[in-house]
């Protein structure tokens, strides 16, 4: 394929995905908005005043970045894992692409972009909802965007690996519920690790979400429990690692071809 033909194939995959996301928006965009509205209500309006300040900012301002990240990470992951799983398992529509000359990396890029679109759009929507509950301070737009994109990318890639490997619908649902969710909640959405006992604080350092949430929060508030460079390094490494795993799986046809 010429570069232009590859671009057409890539655009086709994305366009199809956007049509799908919009068609079933109550399943794709709405759930995160409902959950985060509840969180904002509880932690902002109801509990916030009792908790007081964290790192010198009102509690709701402290939790907003983490809650946005929660949506970004979950939506990116669930999108790629589910779309990949359903297209290889239920109707075998993935064969439409596998029989074509579209190279594996274009397929990966297309599916990942679908995850990015869902993750980032949902994140922005949640951020807009947050504006009803608090005002936002912005320390650095560039850092916010960078972390938004990188985190979405990491989890879209991870979701794709899950989708390619999964042999049942359970295998797709298990990770978000039993792995992702705990990692996000324990990664410091609701508290600063500075307030944790040393054992728990050091355990948190093994949680990739810790780096994501802190980096993203830094973009807004200019405060972080760790150095930004460490966050970047962790995310960058994860992106590279996961991209290689995906490419390998698809090239070998593992999980997709018999």
């Amino acid at each position: 394929m010429t570069p232009y033909e590859k671009w057409v194939a890539y655009y086709t995959i994305i366009r199809k995905e956007v049509v799908r996301l919009l068609r079933i928006w109550p399943q794709t965009f709405l759930p995160s908005l409902v959950t985060s509205t509840l969180y904002f209500l509880i932690f902002g309006a109801f509990l916030g005043s009792r908790i007081g300040m964290v790192h010198g900012v009102p509690y709701i301002m402290f939790v907003v970045p983490g809650l946005v990240m929660l949506s970004v990470v979950m939506n990116s992951y669930m999108n790629t894992s589910f779309v990949m799983f359903q297209s290889k398992f239920f109707m075998r529509t993935i064969d439409e692409i596998l029989v074509s000359p579209t190279p594996p990396w274009v397929l990966i890029a297309g599916f990942i972009s679908g995850g990015l679109i869902r993750g980032i759009v949902t994140g922005i929507l949640v951020l807009l909802v947050a504006l009803f509950f608090t005002h936002l301070v912005i320390h650095s737009v560039a850092i916010i965007i960078l972390f938004l994109v990188l985190s979405s990318l990491v989890f879209a890639l991870a979701g794709l690996v899950n989708g390619i490997y999964a042999k049942s619908m359970d295998a797709v649902n298990i990770v978000p519920t039993f792995v992702l969710q705990p990692l996000v909640y324990l990664g410091g959405i609701f508290y600063s690790t500075a307030s944790l006992p040393p054992f728990w604080a050091s355990l948190t350092r093994f949680d990739p979400l810790f780096y994501i949430i802190n980096g993203f929060r830094y973009g807004f508030l200019g405060i972080s429990d760790i150095s930004l460079w460490v966050s970047f390094a962790v995310l960058g490494t994860l992106v590279l690692l996961l991209a290689v795993v995906n490419l390998y799986l698809l090239k070998k046809g593992l999980g997709l071809k018999q």
Binding site: M91, V99, G253, K257
Partner: protein, 258 residues
């Protein structure tokens, strides 16, 4: 080499669960041919098509399409190929026109070019009035025709059809035959699998009979008939009966392997 559409040499496939599907298939399909691959259920027909179209990973052997090694240059080899799989694999929620146009996209054909082409094919194949319907709203026979339209949108030179008329009523079957004949008259090479002997006799120039993963006979229809004992063919009905006799003889020789 160049005048062969498909050449397989000692093609083998053992599935992950140990099922031996192909035990060394050597086959040649001339360019422009209408080739019927006959064989009972489980003989290995779909496996062969799967390997040729990049959906099944072979265990051994070689396969080339128009002289291009399909294992060394899979994307290049797939380019001139269209495939209609045995099982329905259209996304039930996608619109007919989108299914066809998106498929063109995976071959690098932009929407603007694909749309008029898709409309022309849908008209030819009798689905023009279903253009805006989602696939779920089509009958089984219509979905099968939709899969043919999808396989043709990039103007393939080589069309694989895996039991395209299974479960299709007699009238539609005849219409499909006529349509397939117009395709071969335009120079498209067709490889069709079927277990309707009448279909092979009506359409095919060359026939191969596959049983238990190996080709047990190969040649023109007349050569196949000559395999029947002694008597010379007389009327059409007798011919048909005769082909059946040959077919049964060929496919019942080897005992069931399980």
């Amino acid at each position: 080499m160049e005048d062969l559409a498909l050449k397989t040499t000692d093609l083998r496939k053992t599935y992950a669960d140990g099922t031996v599907a192909l035990t060394g298939v050597t086959l040649e399909v001339p360019k422009g041919d209408f080739f019927a691959l006959l064989g009972p259920n489980g003989a290995g027909k779909s496996t062969l098509i799967g390997i040729a179209t990049g959906l099944v990973i072979p265990t051994g052997g070689a396969l080339s399409i128009f002289g291009v090694d399909a294992f060394a240059q899979p994307e290049r080899a797939r380019r001139p190929v269209g495939v209609v799989p045995q099982n329905l694999n259209v996304n039930p929620f996608e619109k007919v026109i989108d299914i066809v146009v998106n498929q063109a996209g995976y071959y690098g054909i932009p929407r603007a070019v694909a749309l008029p082409r898709a409309d022309a094919i849908l008209k030819d194949i009798g689905l023009a009035n279903k253009r805006e319907n989602i696939a779920r709203e089509l009958s089984g026979g219509m979905q099968r025709r939709l899969m043919i339209a999808r396989a043709l949108v990039h103007d393939p030179e080589f069309l694989f059809l895996d039991e395209p008329t299974a479960g299709v009523d007699v009238e539609s079957r005849r219409a499909m035959w006529t349509y397939l004949k117009t395709l071969t008259s335009k120079g498209v090479t067709i490889l069709l699998t079927t277990h309707y002997l009448e279909e092979a006799e009506q359409l095919a120039k060359h026939v191969a009979v596959i049983n238990h993963g190996t080709i047990v006979a190969q040649g023109t229809i007349d050569e196949m008939l000559a395999l029947a004992d002694g008597r010379t063919p007389e009327g059409e009905a007798f011919r048909g009966g005769k082909l059946e006799e040959v077919y049964l003889k060929l496919t019942q020789q080897a005992p069931e392997q399980n």
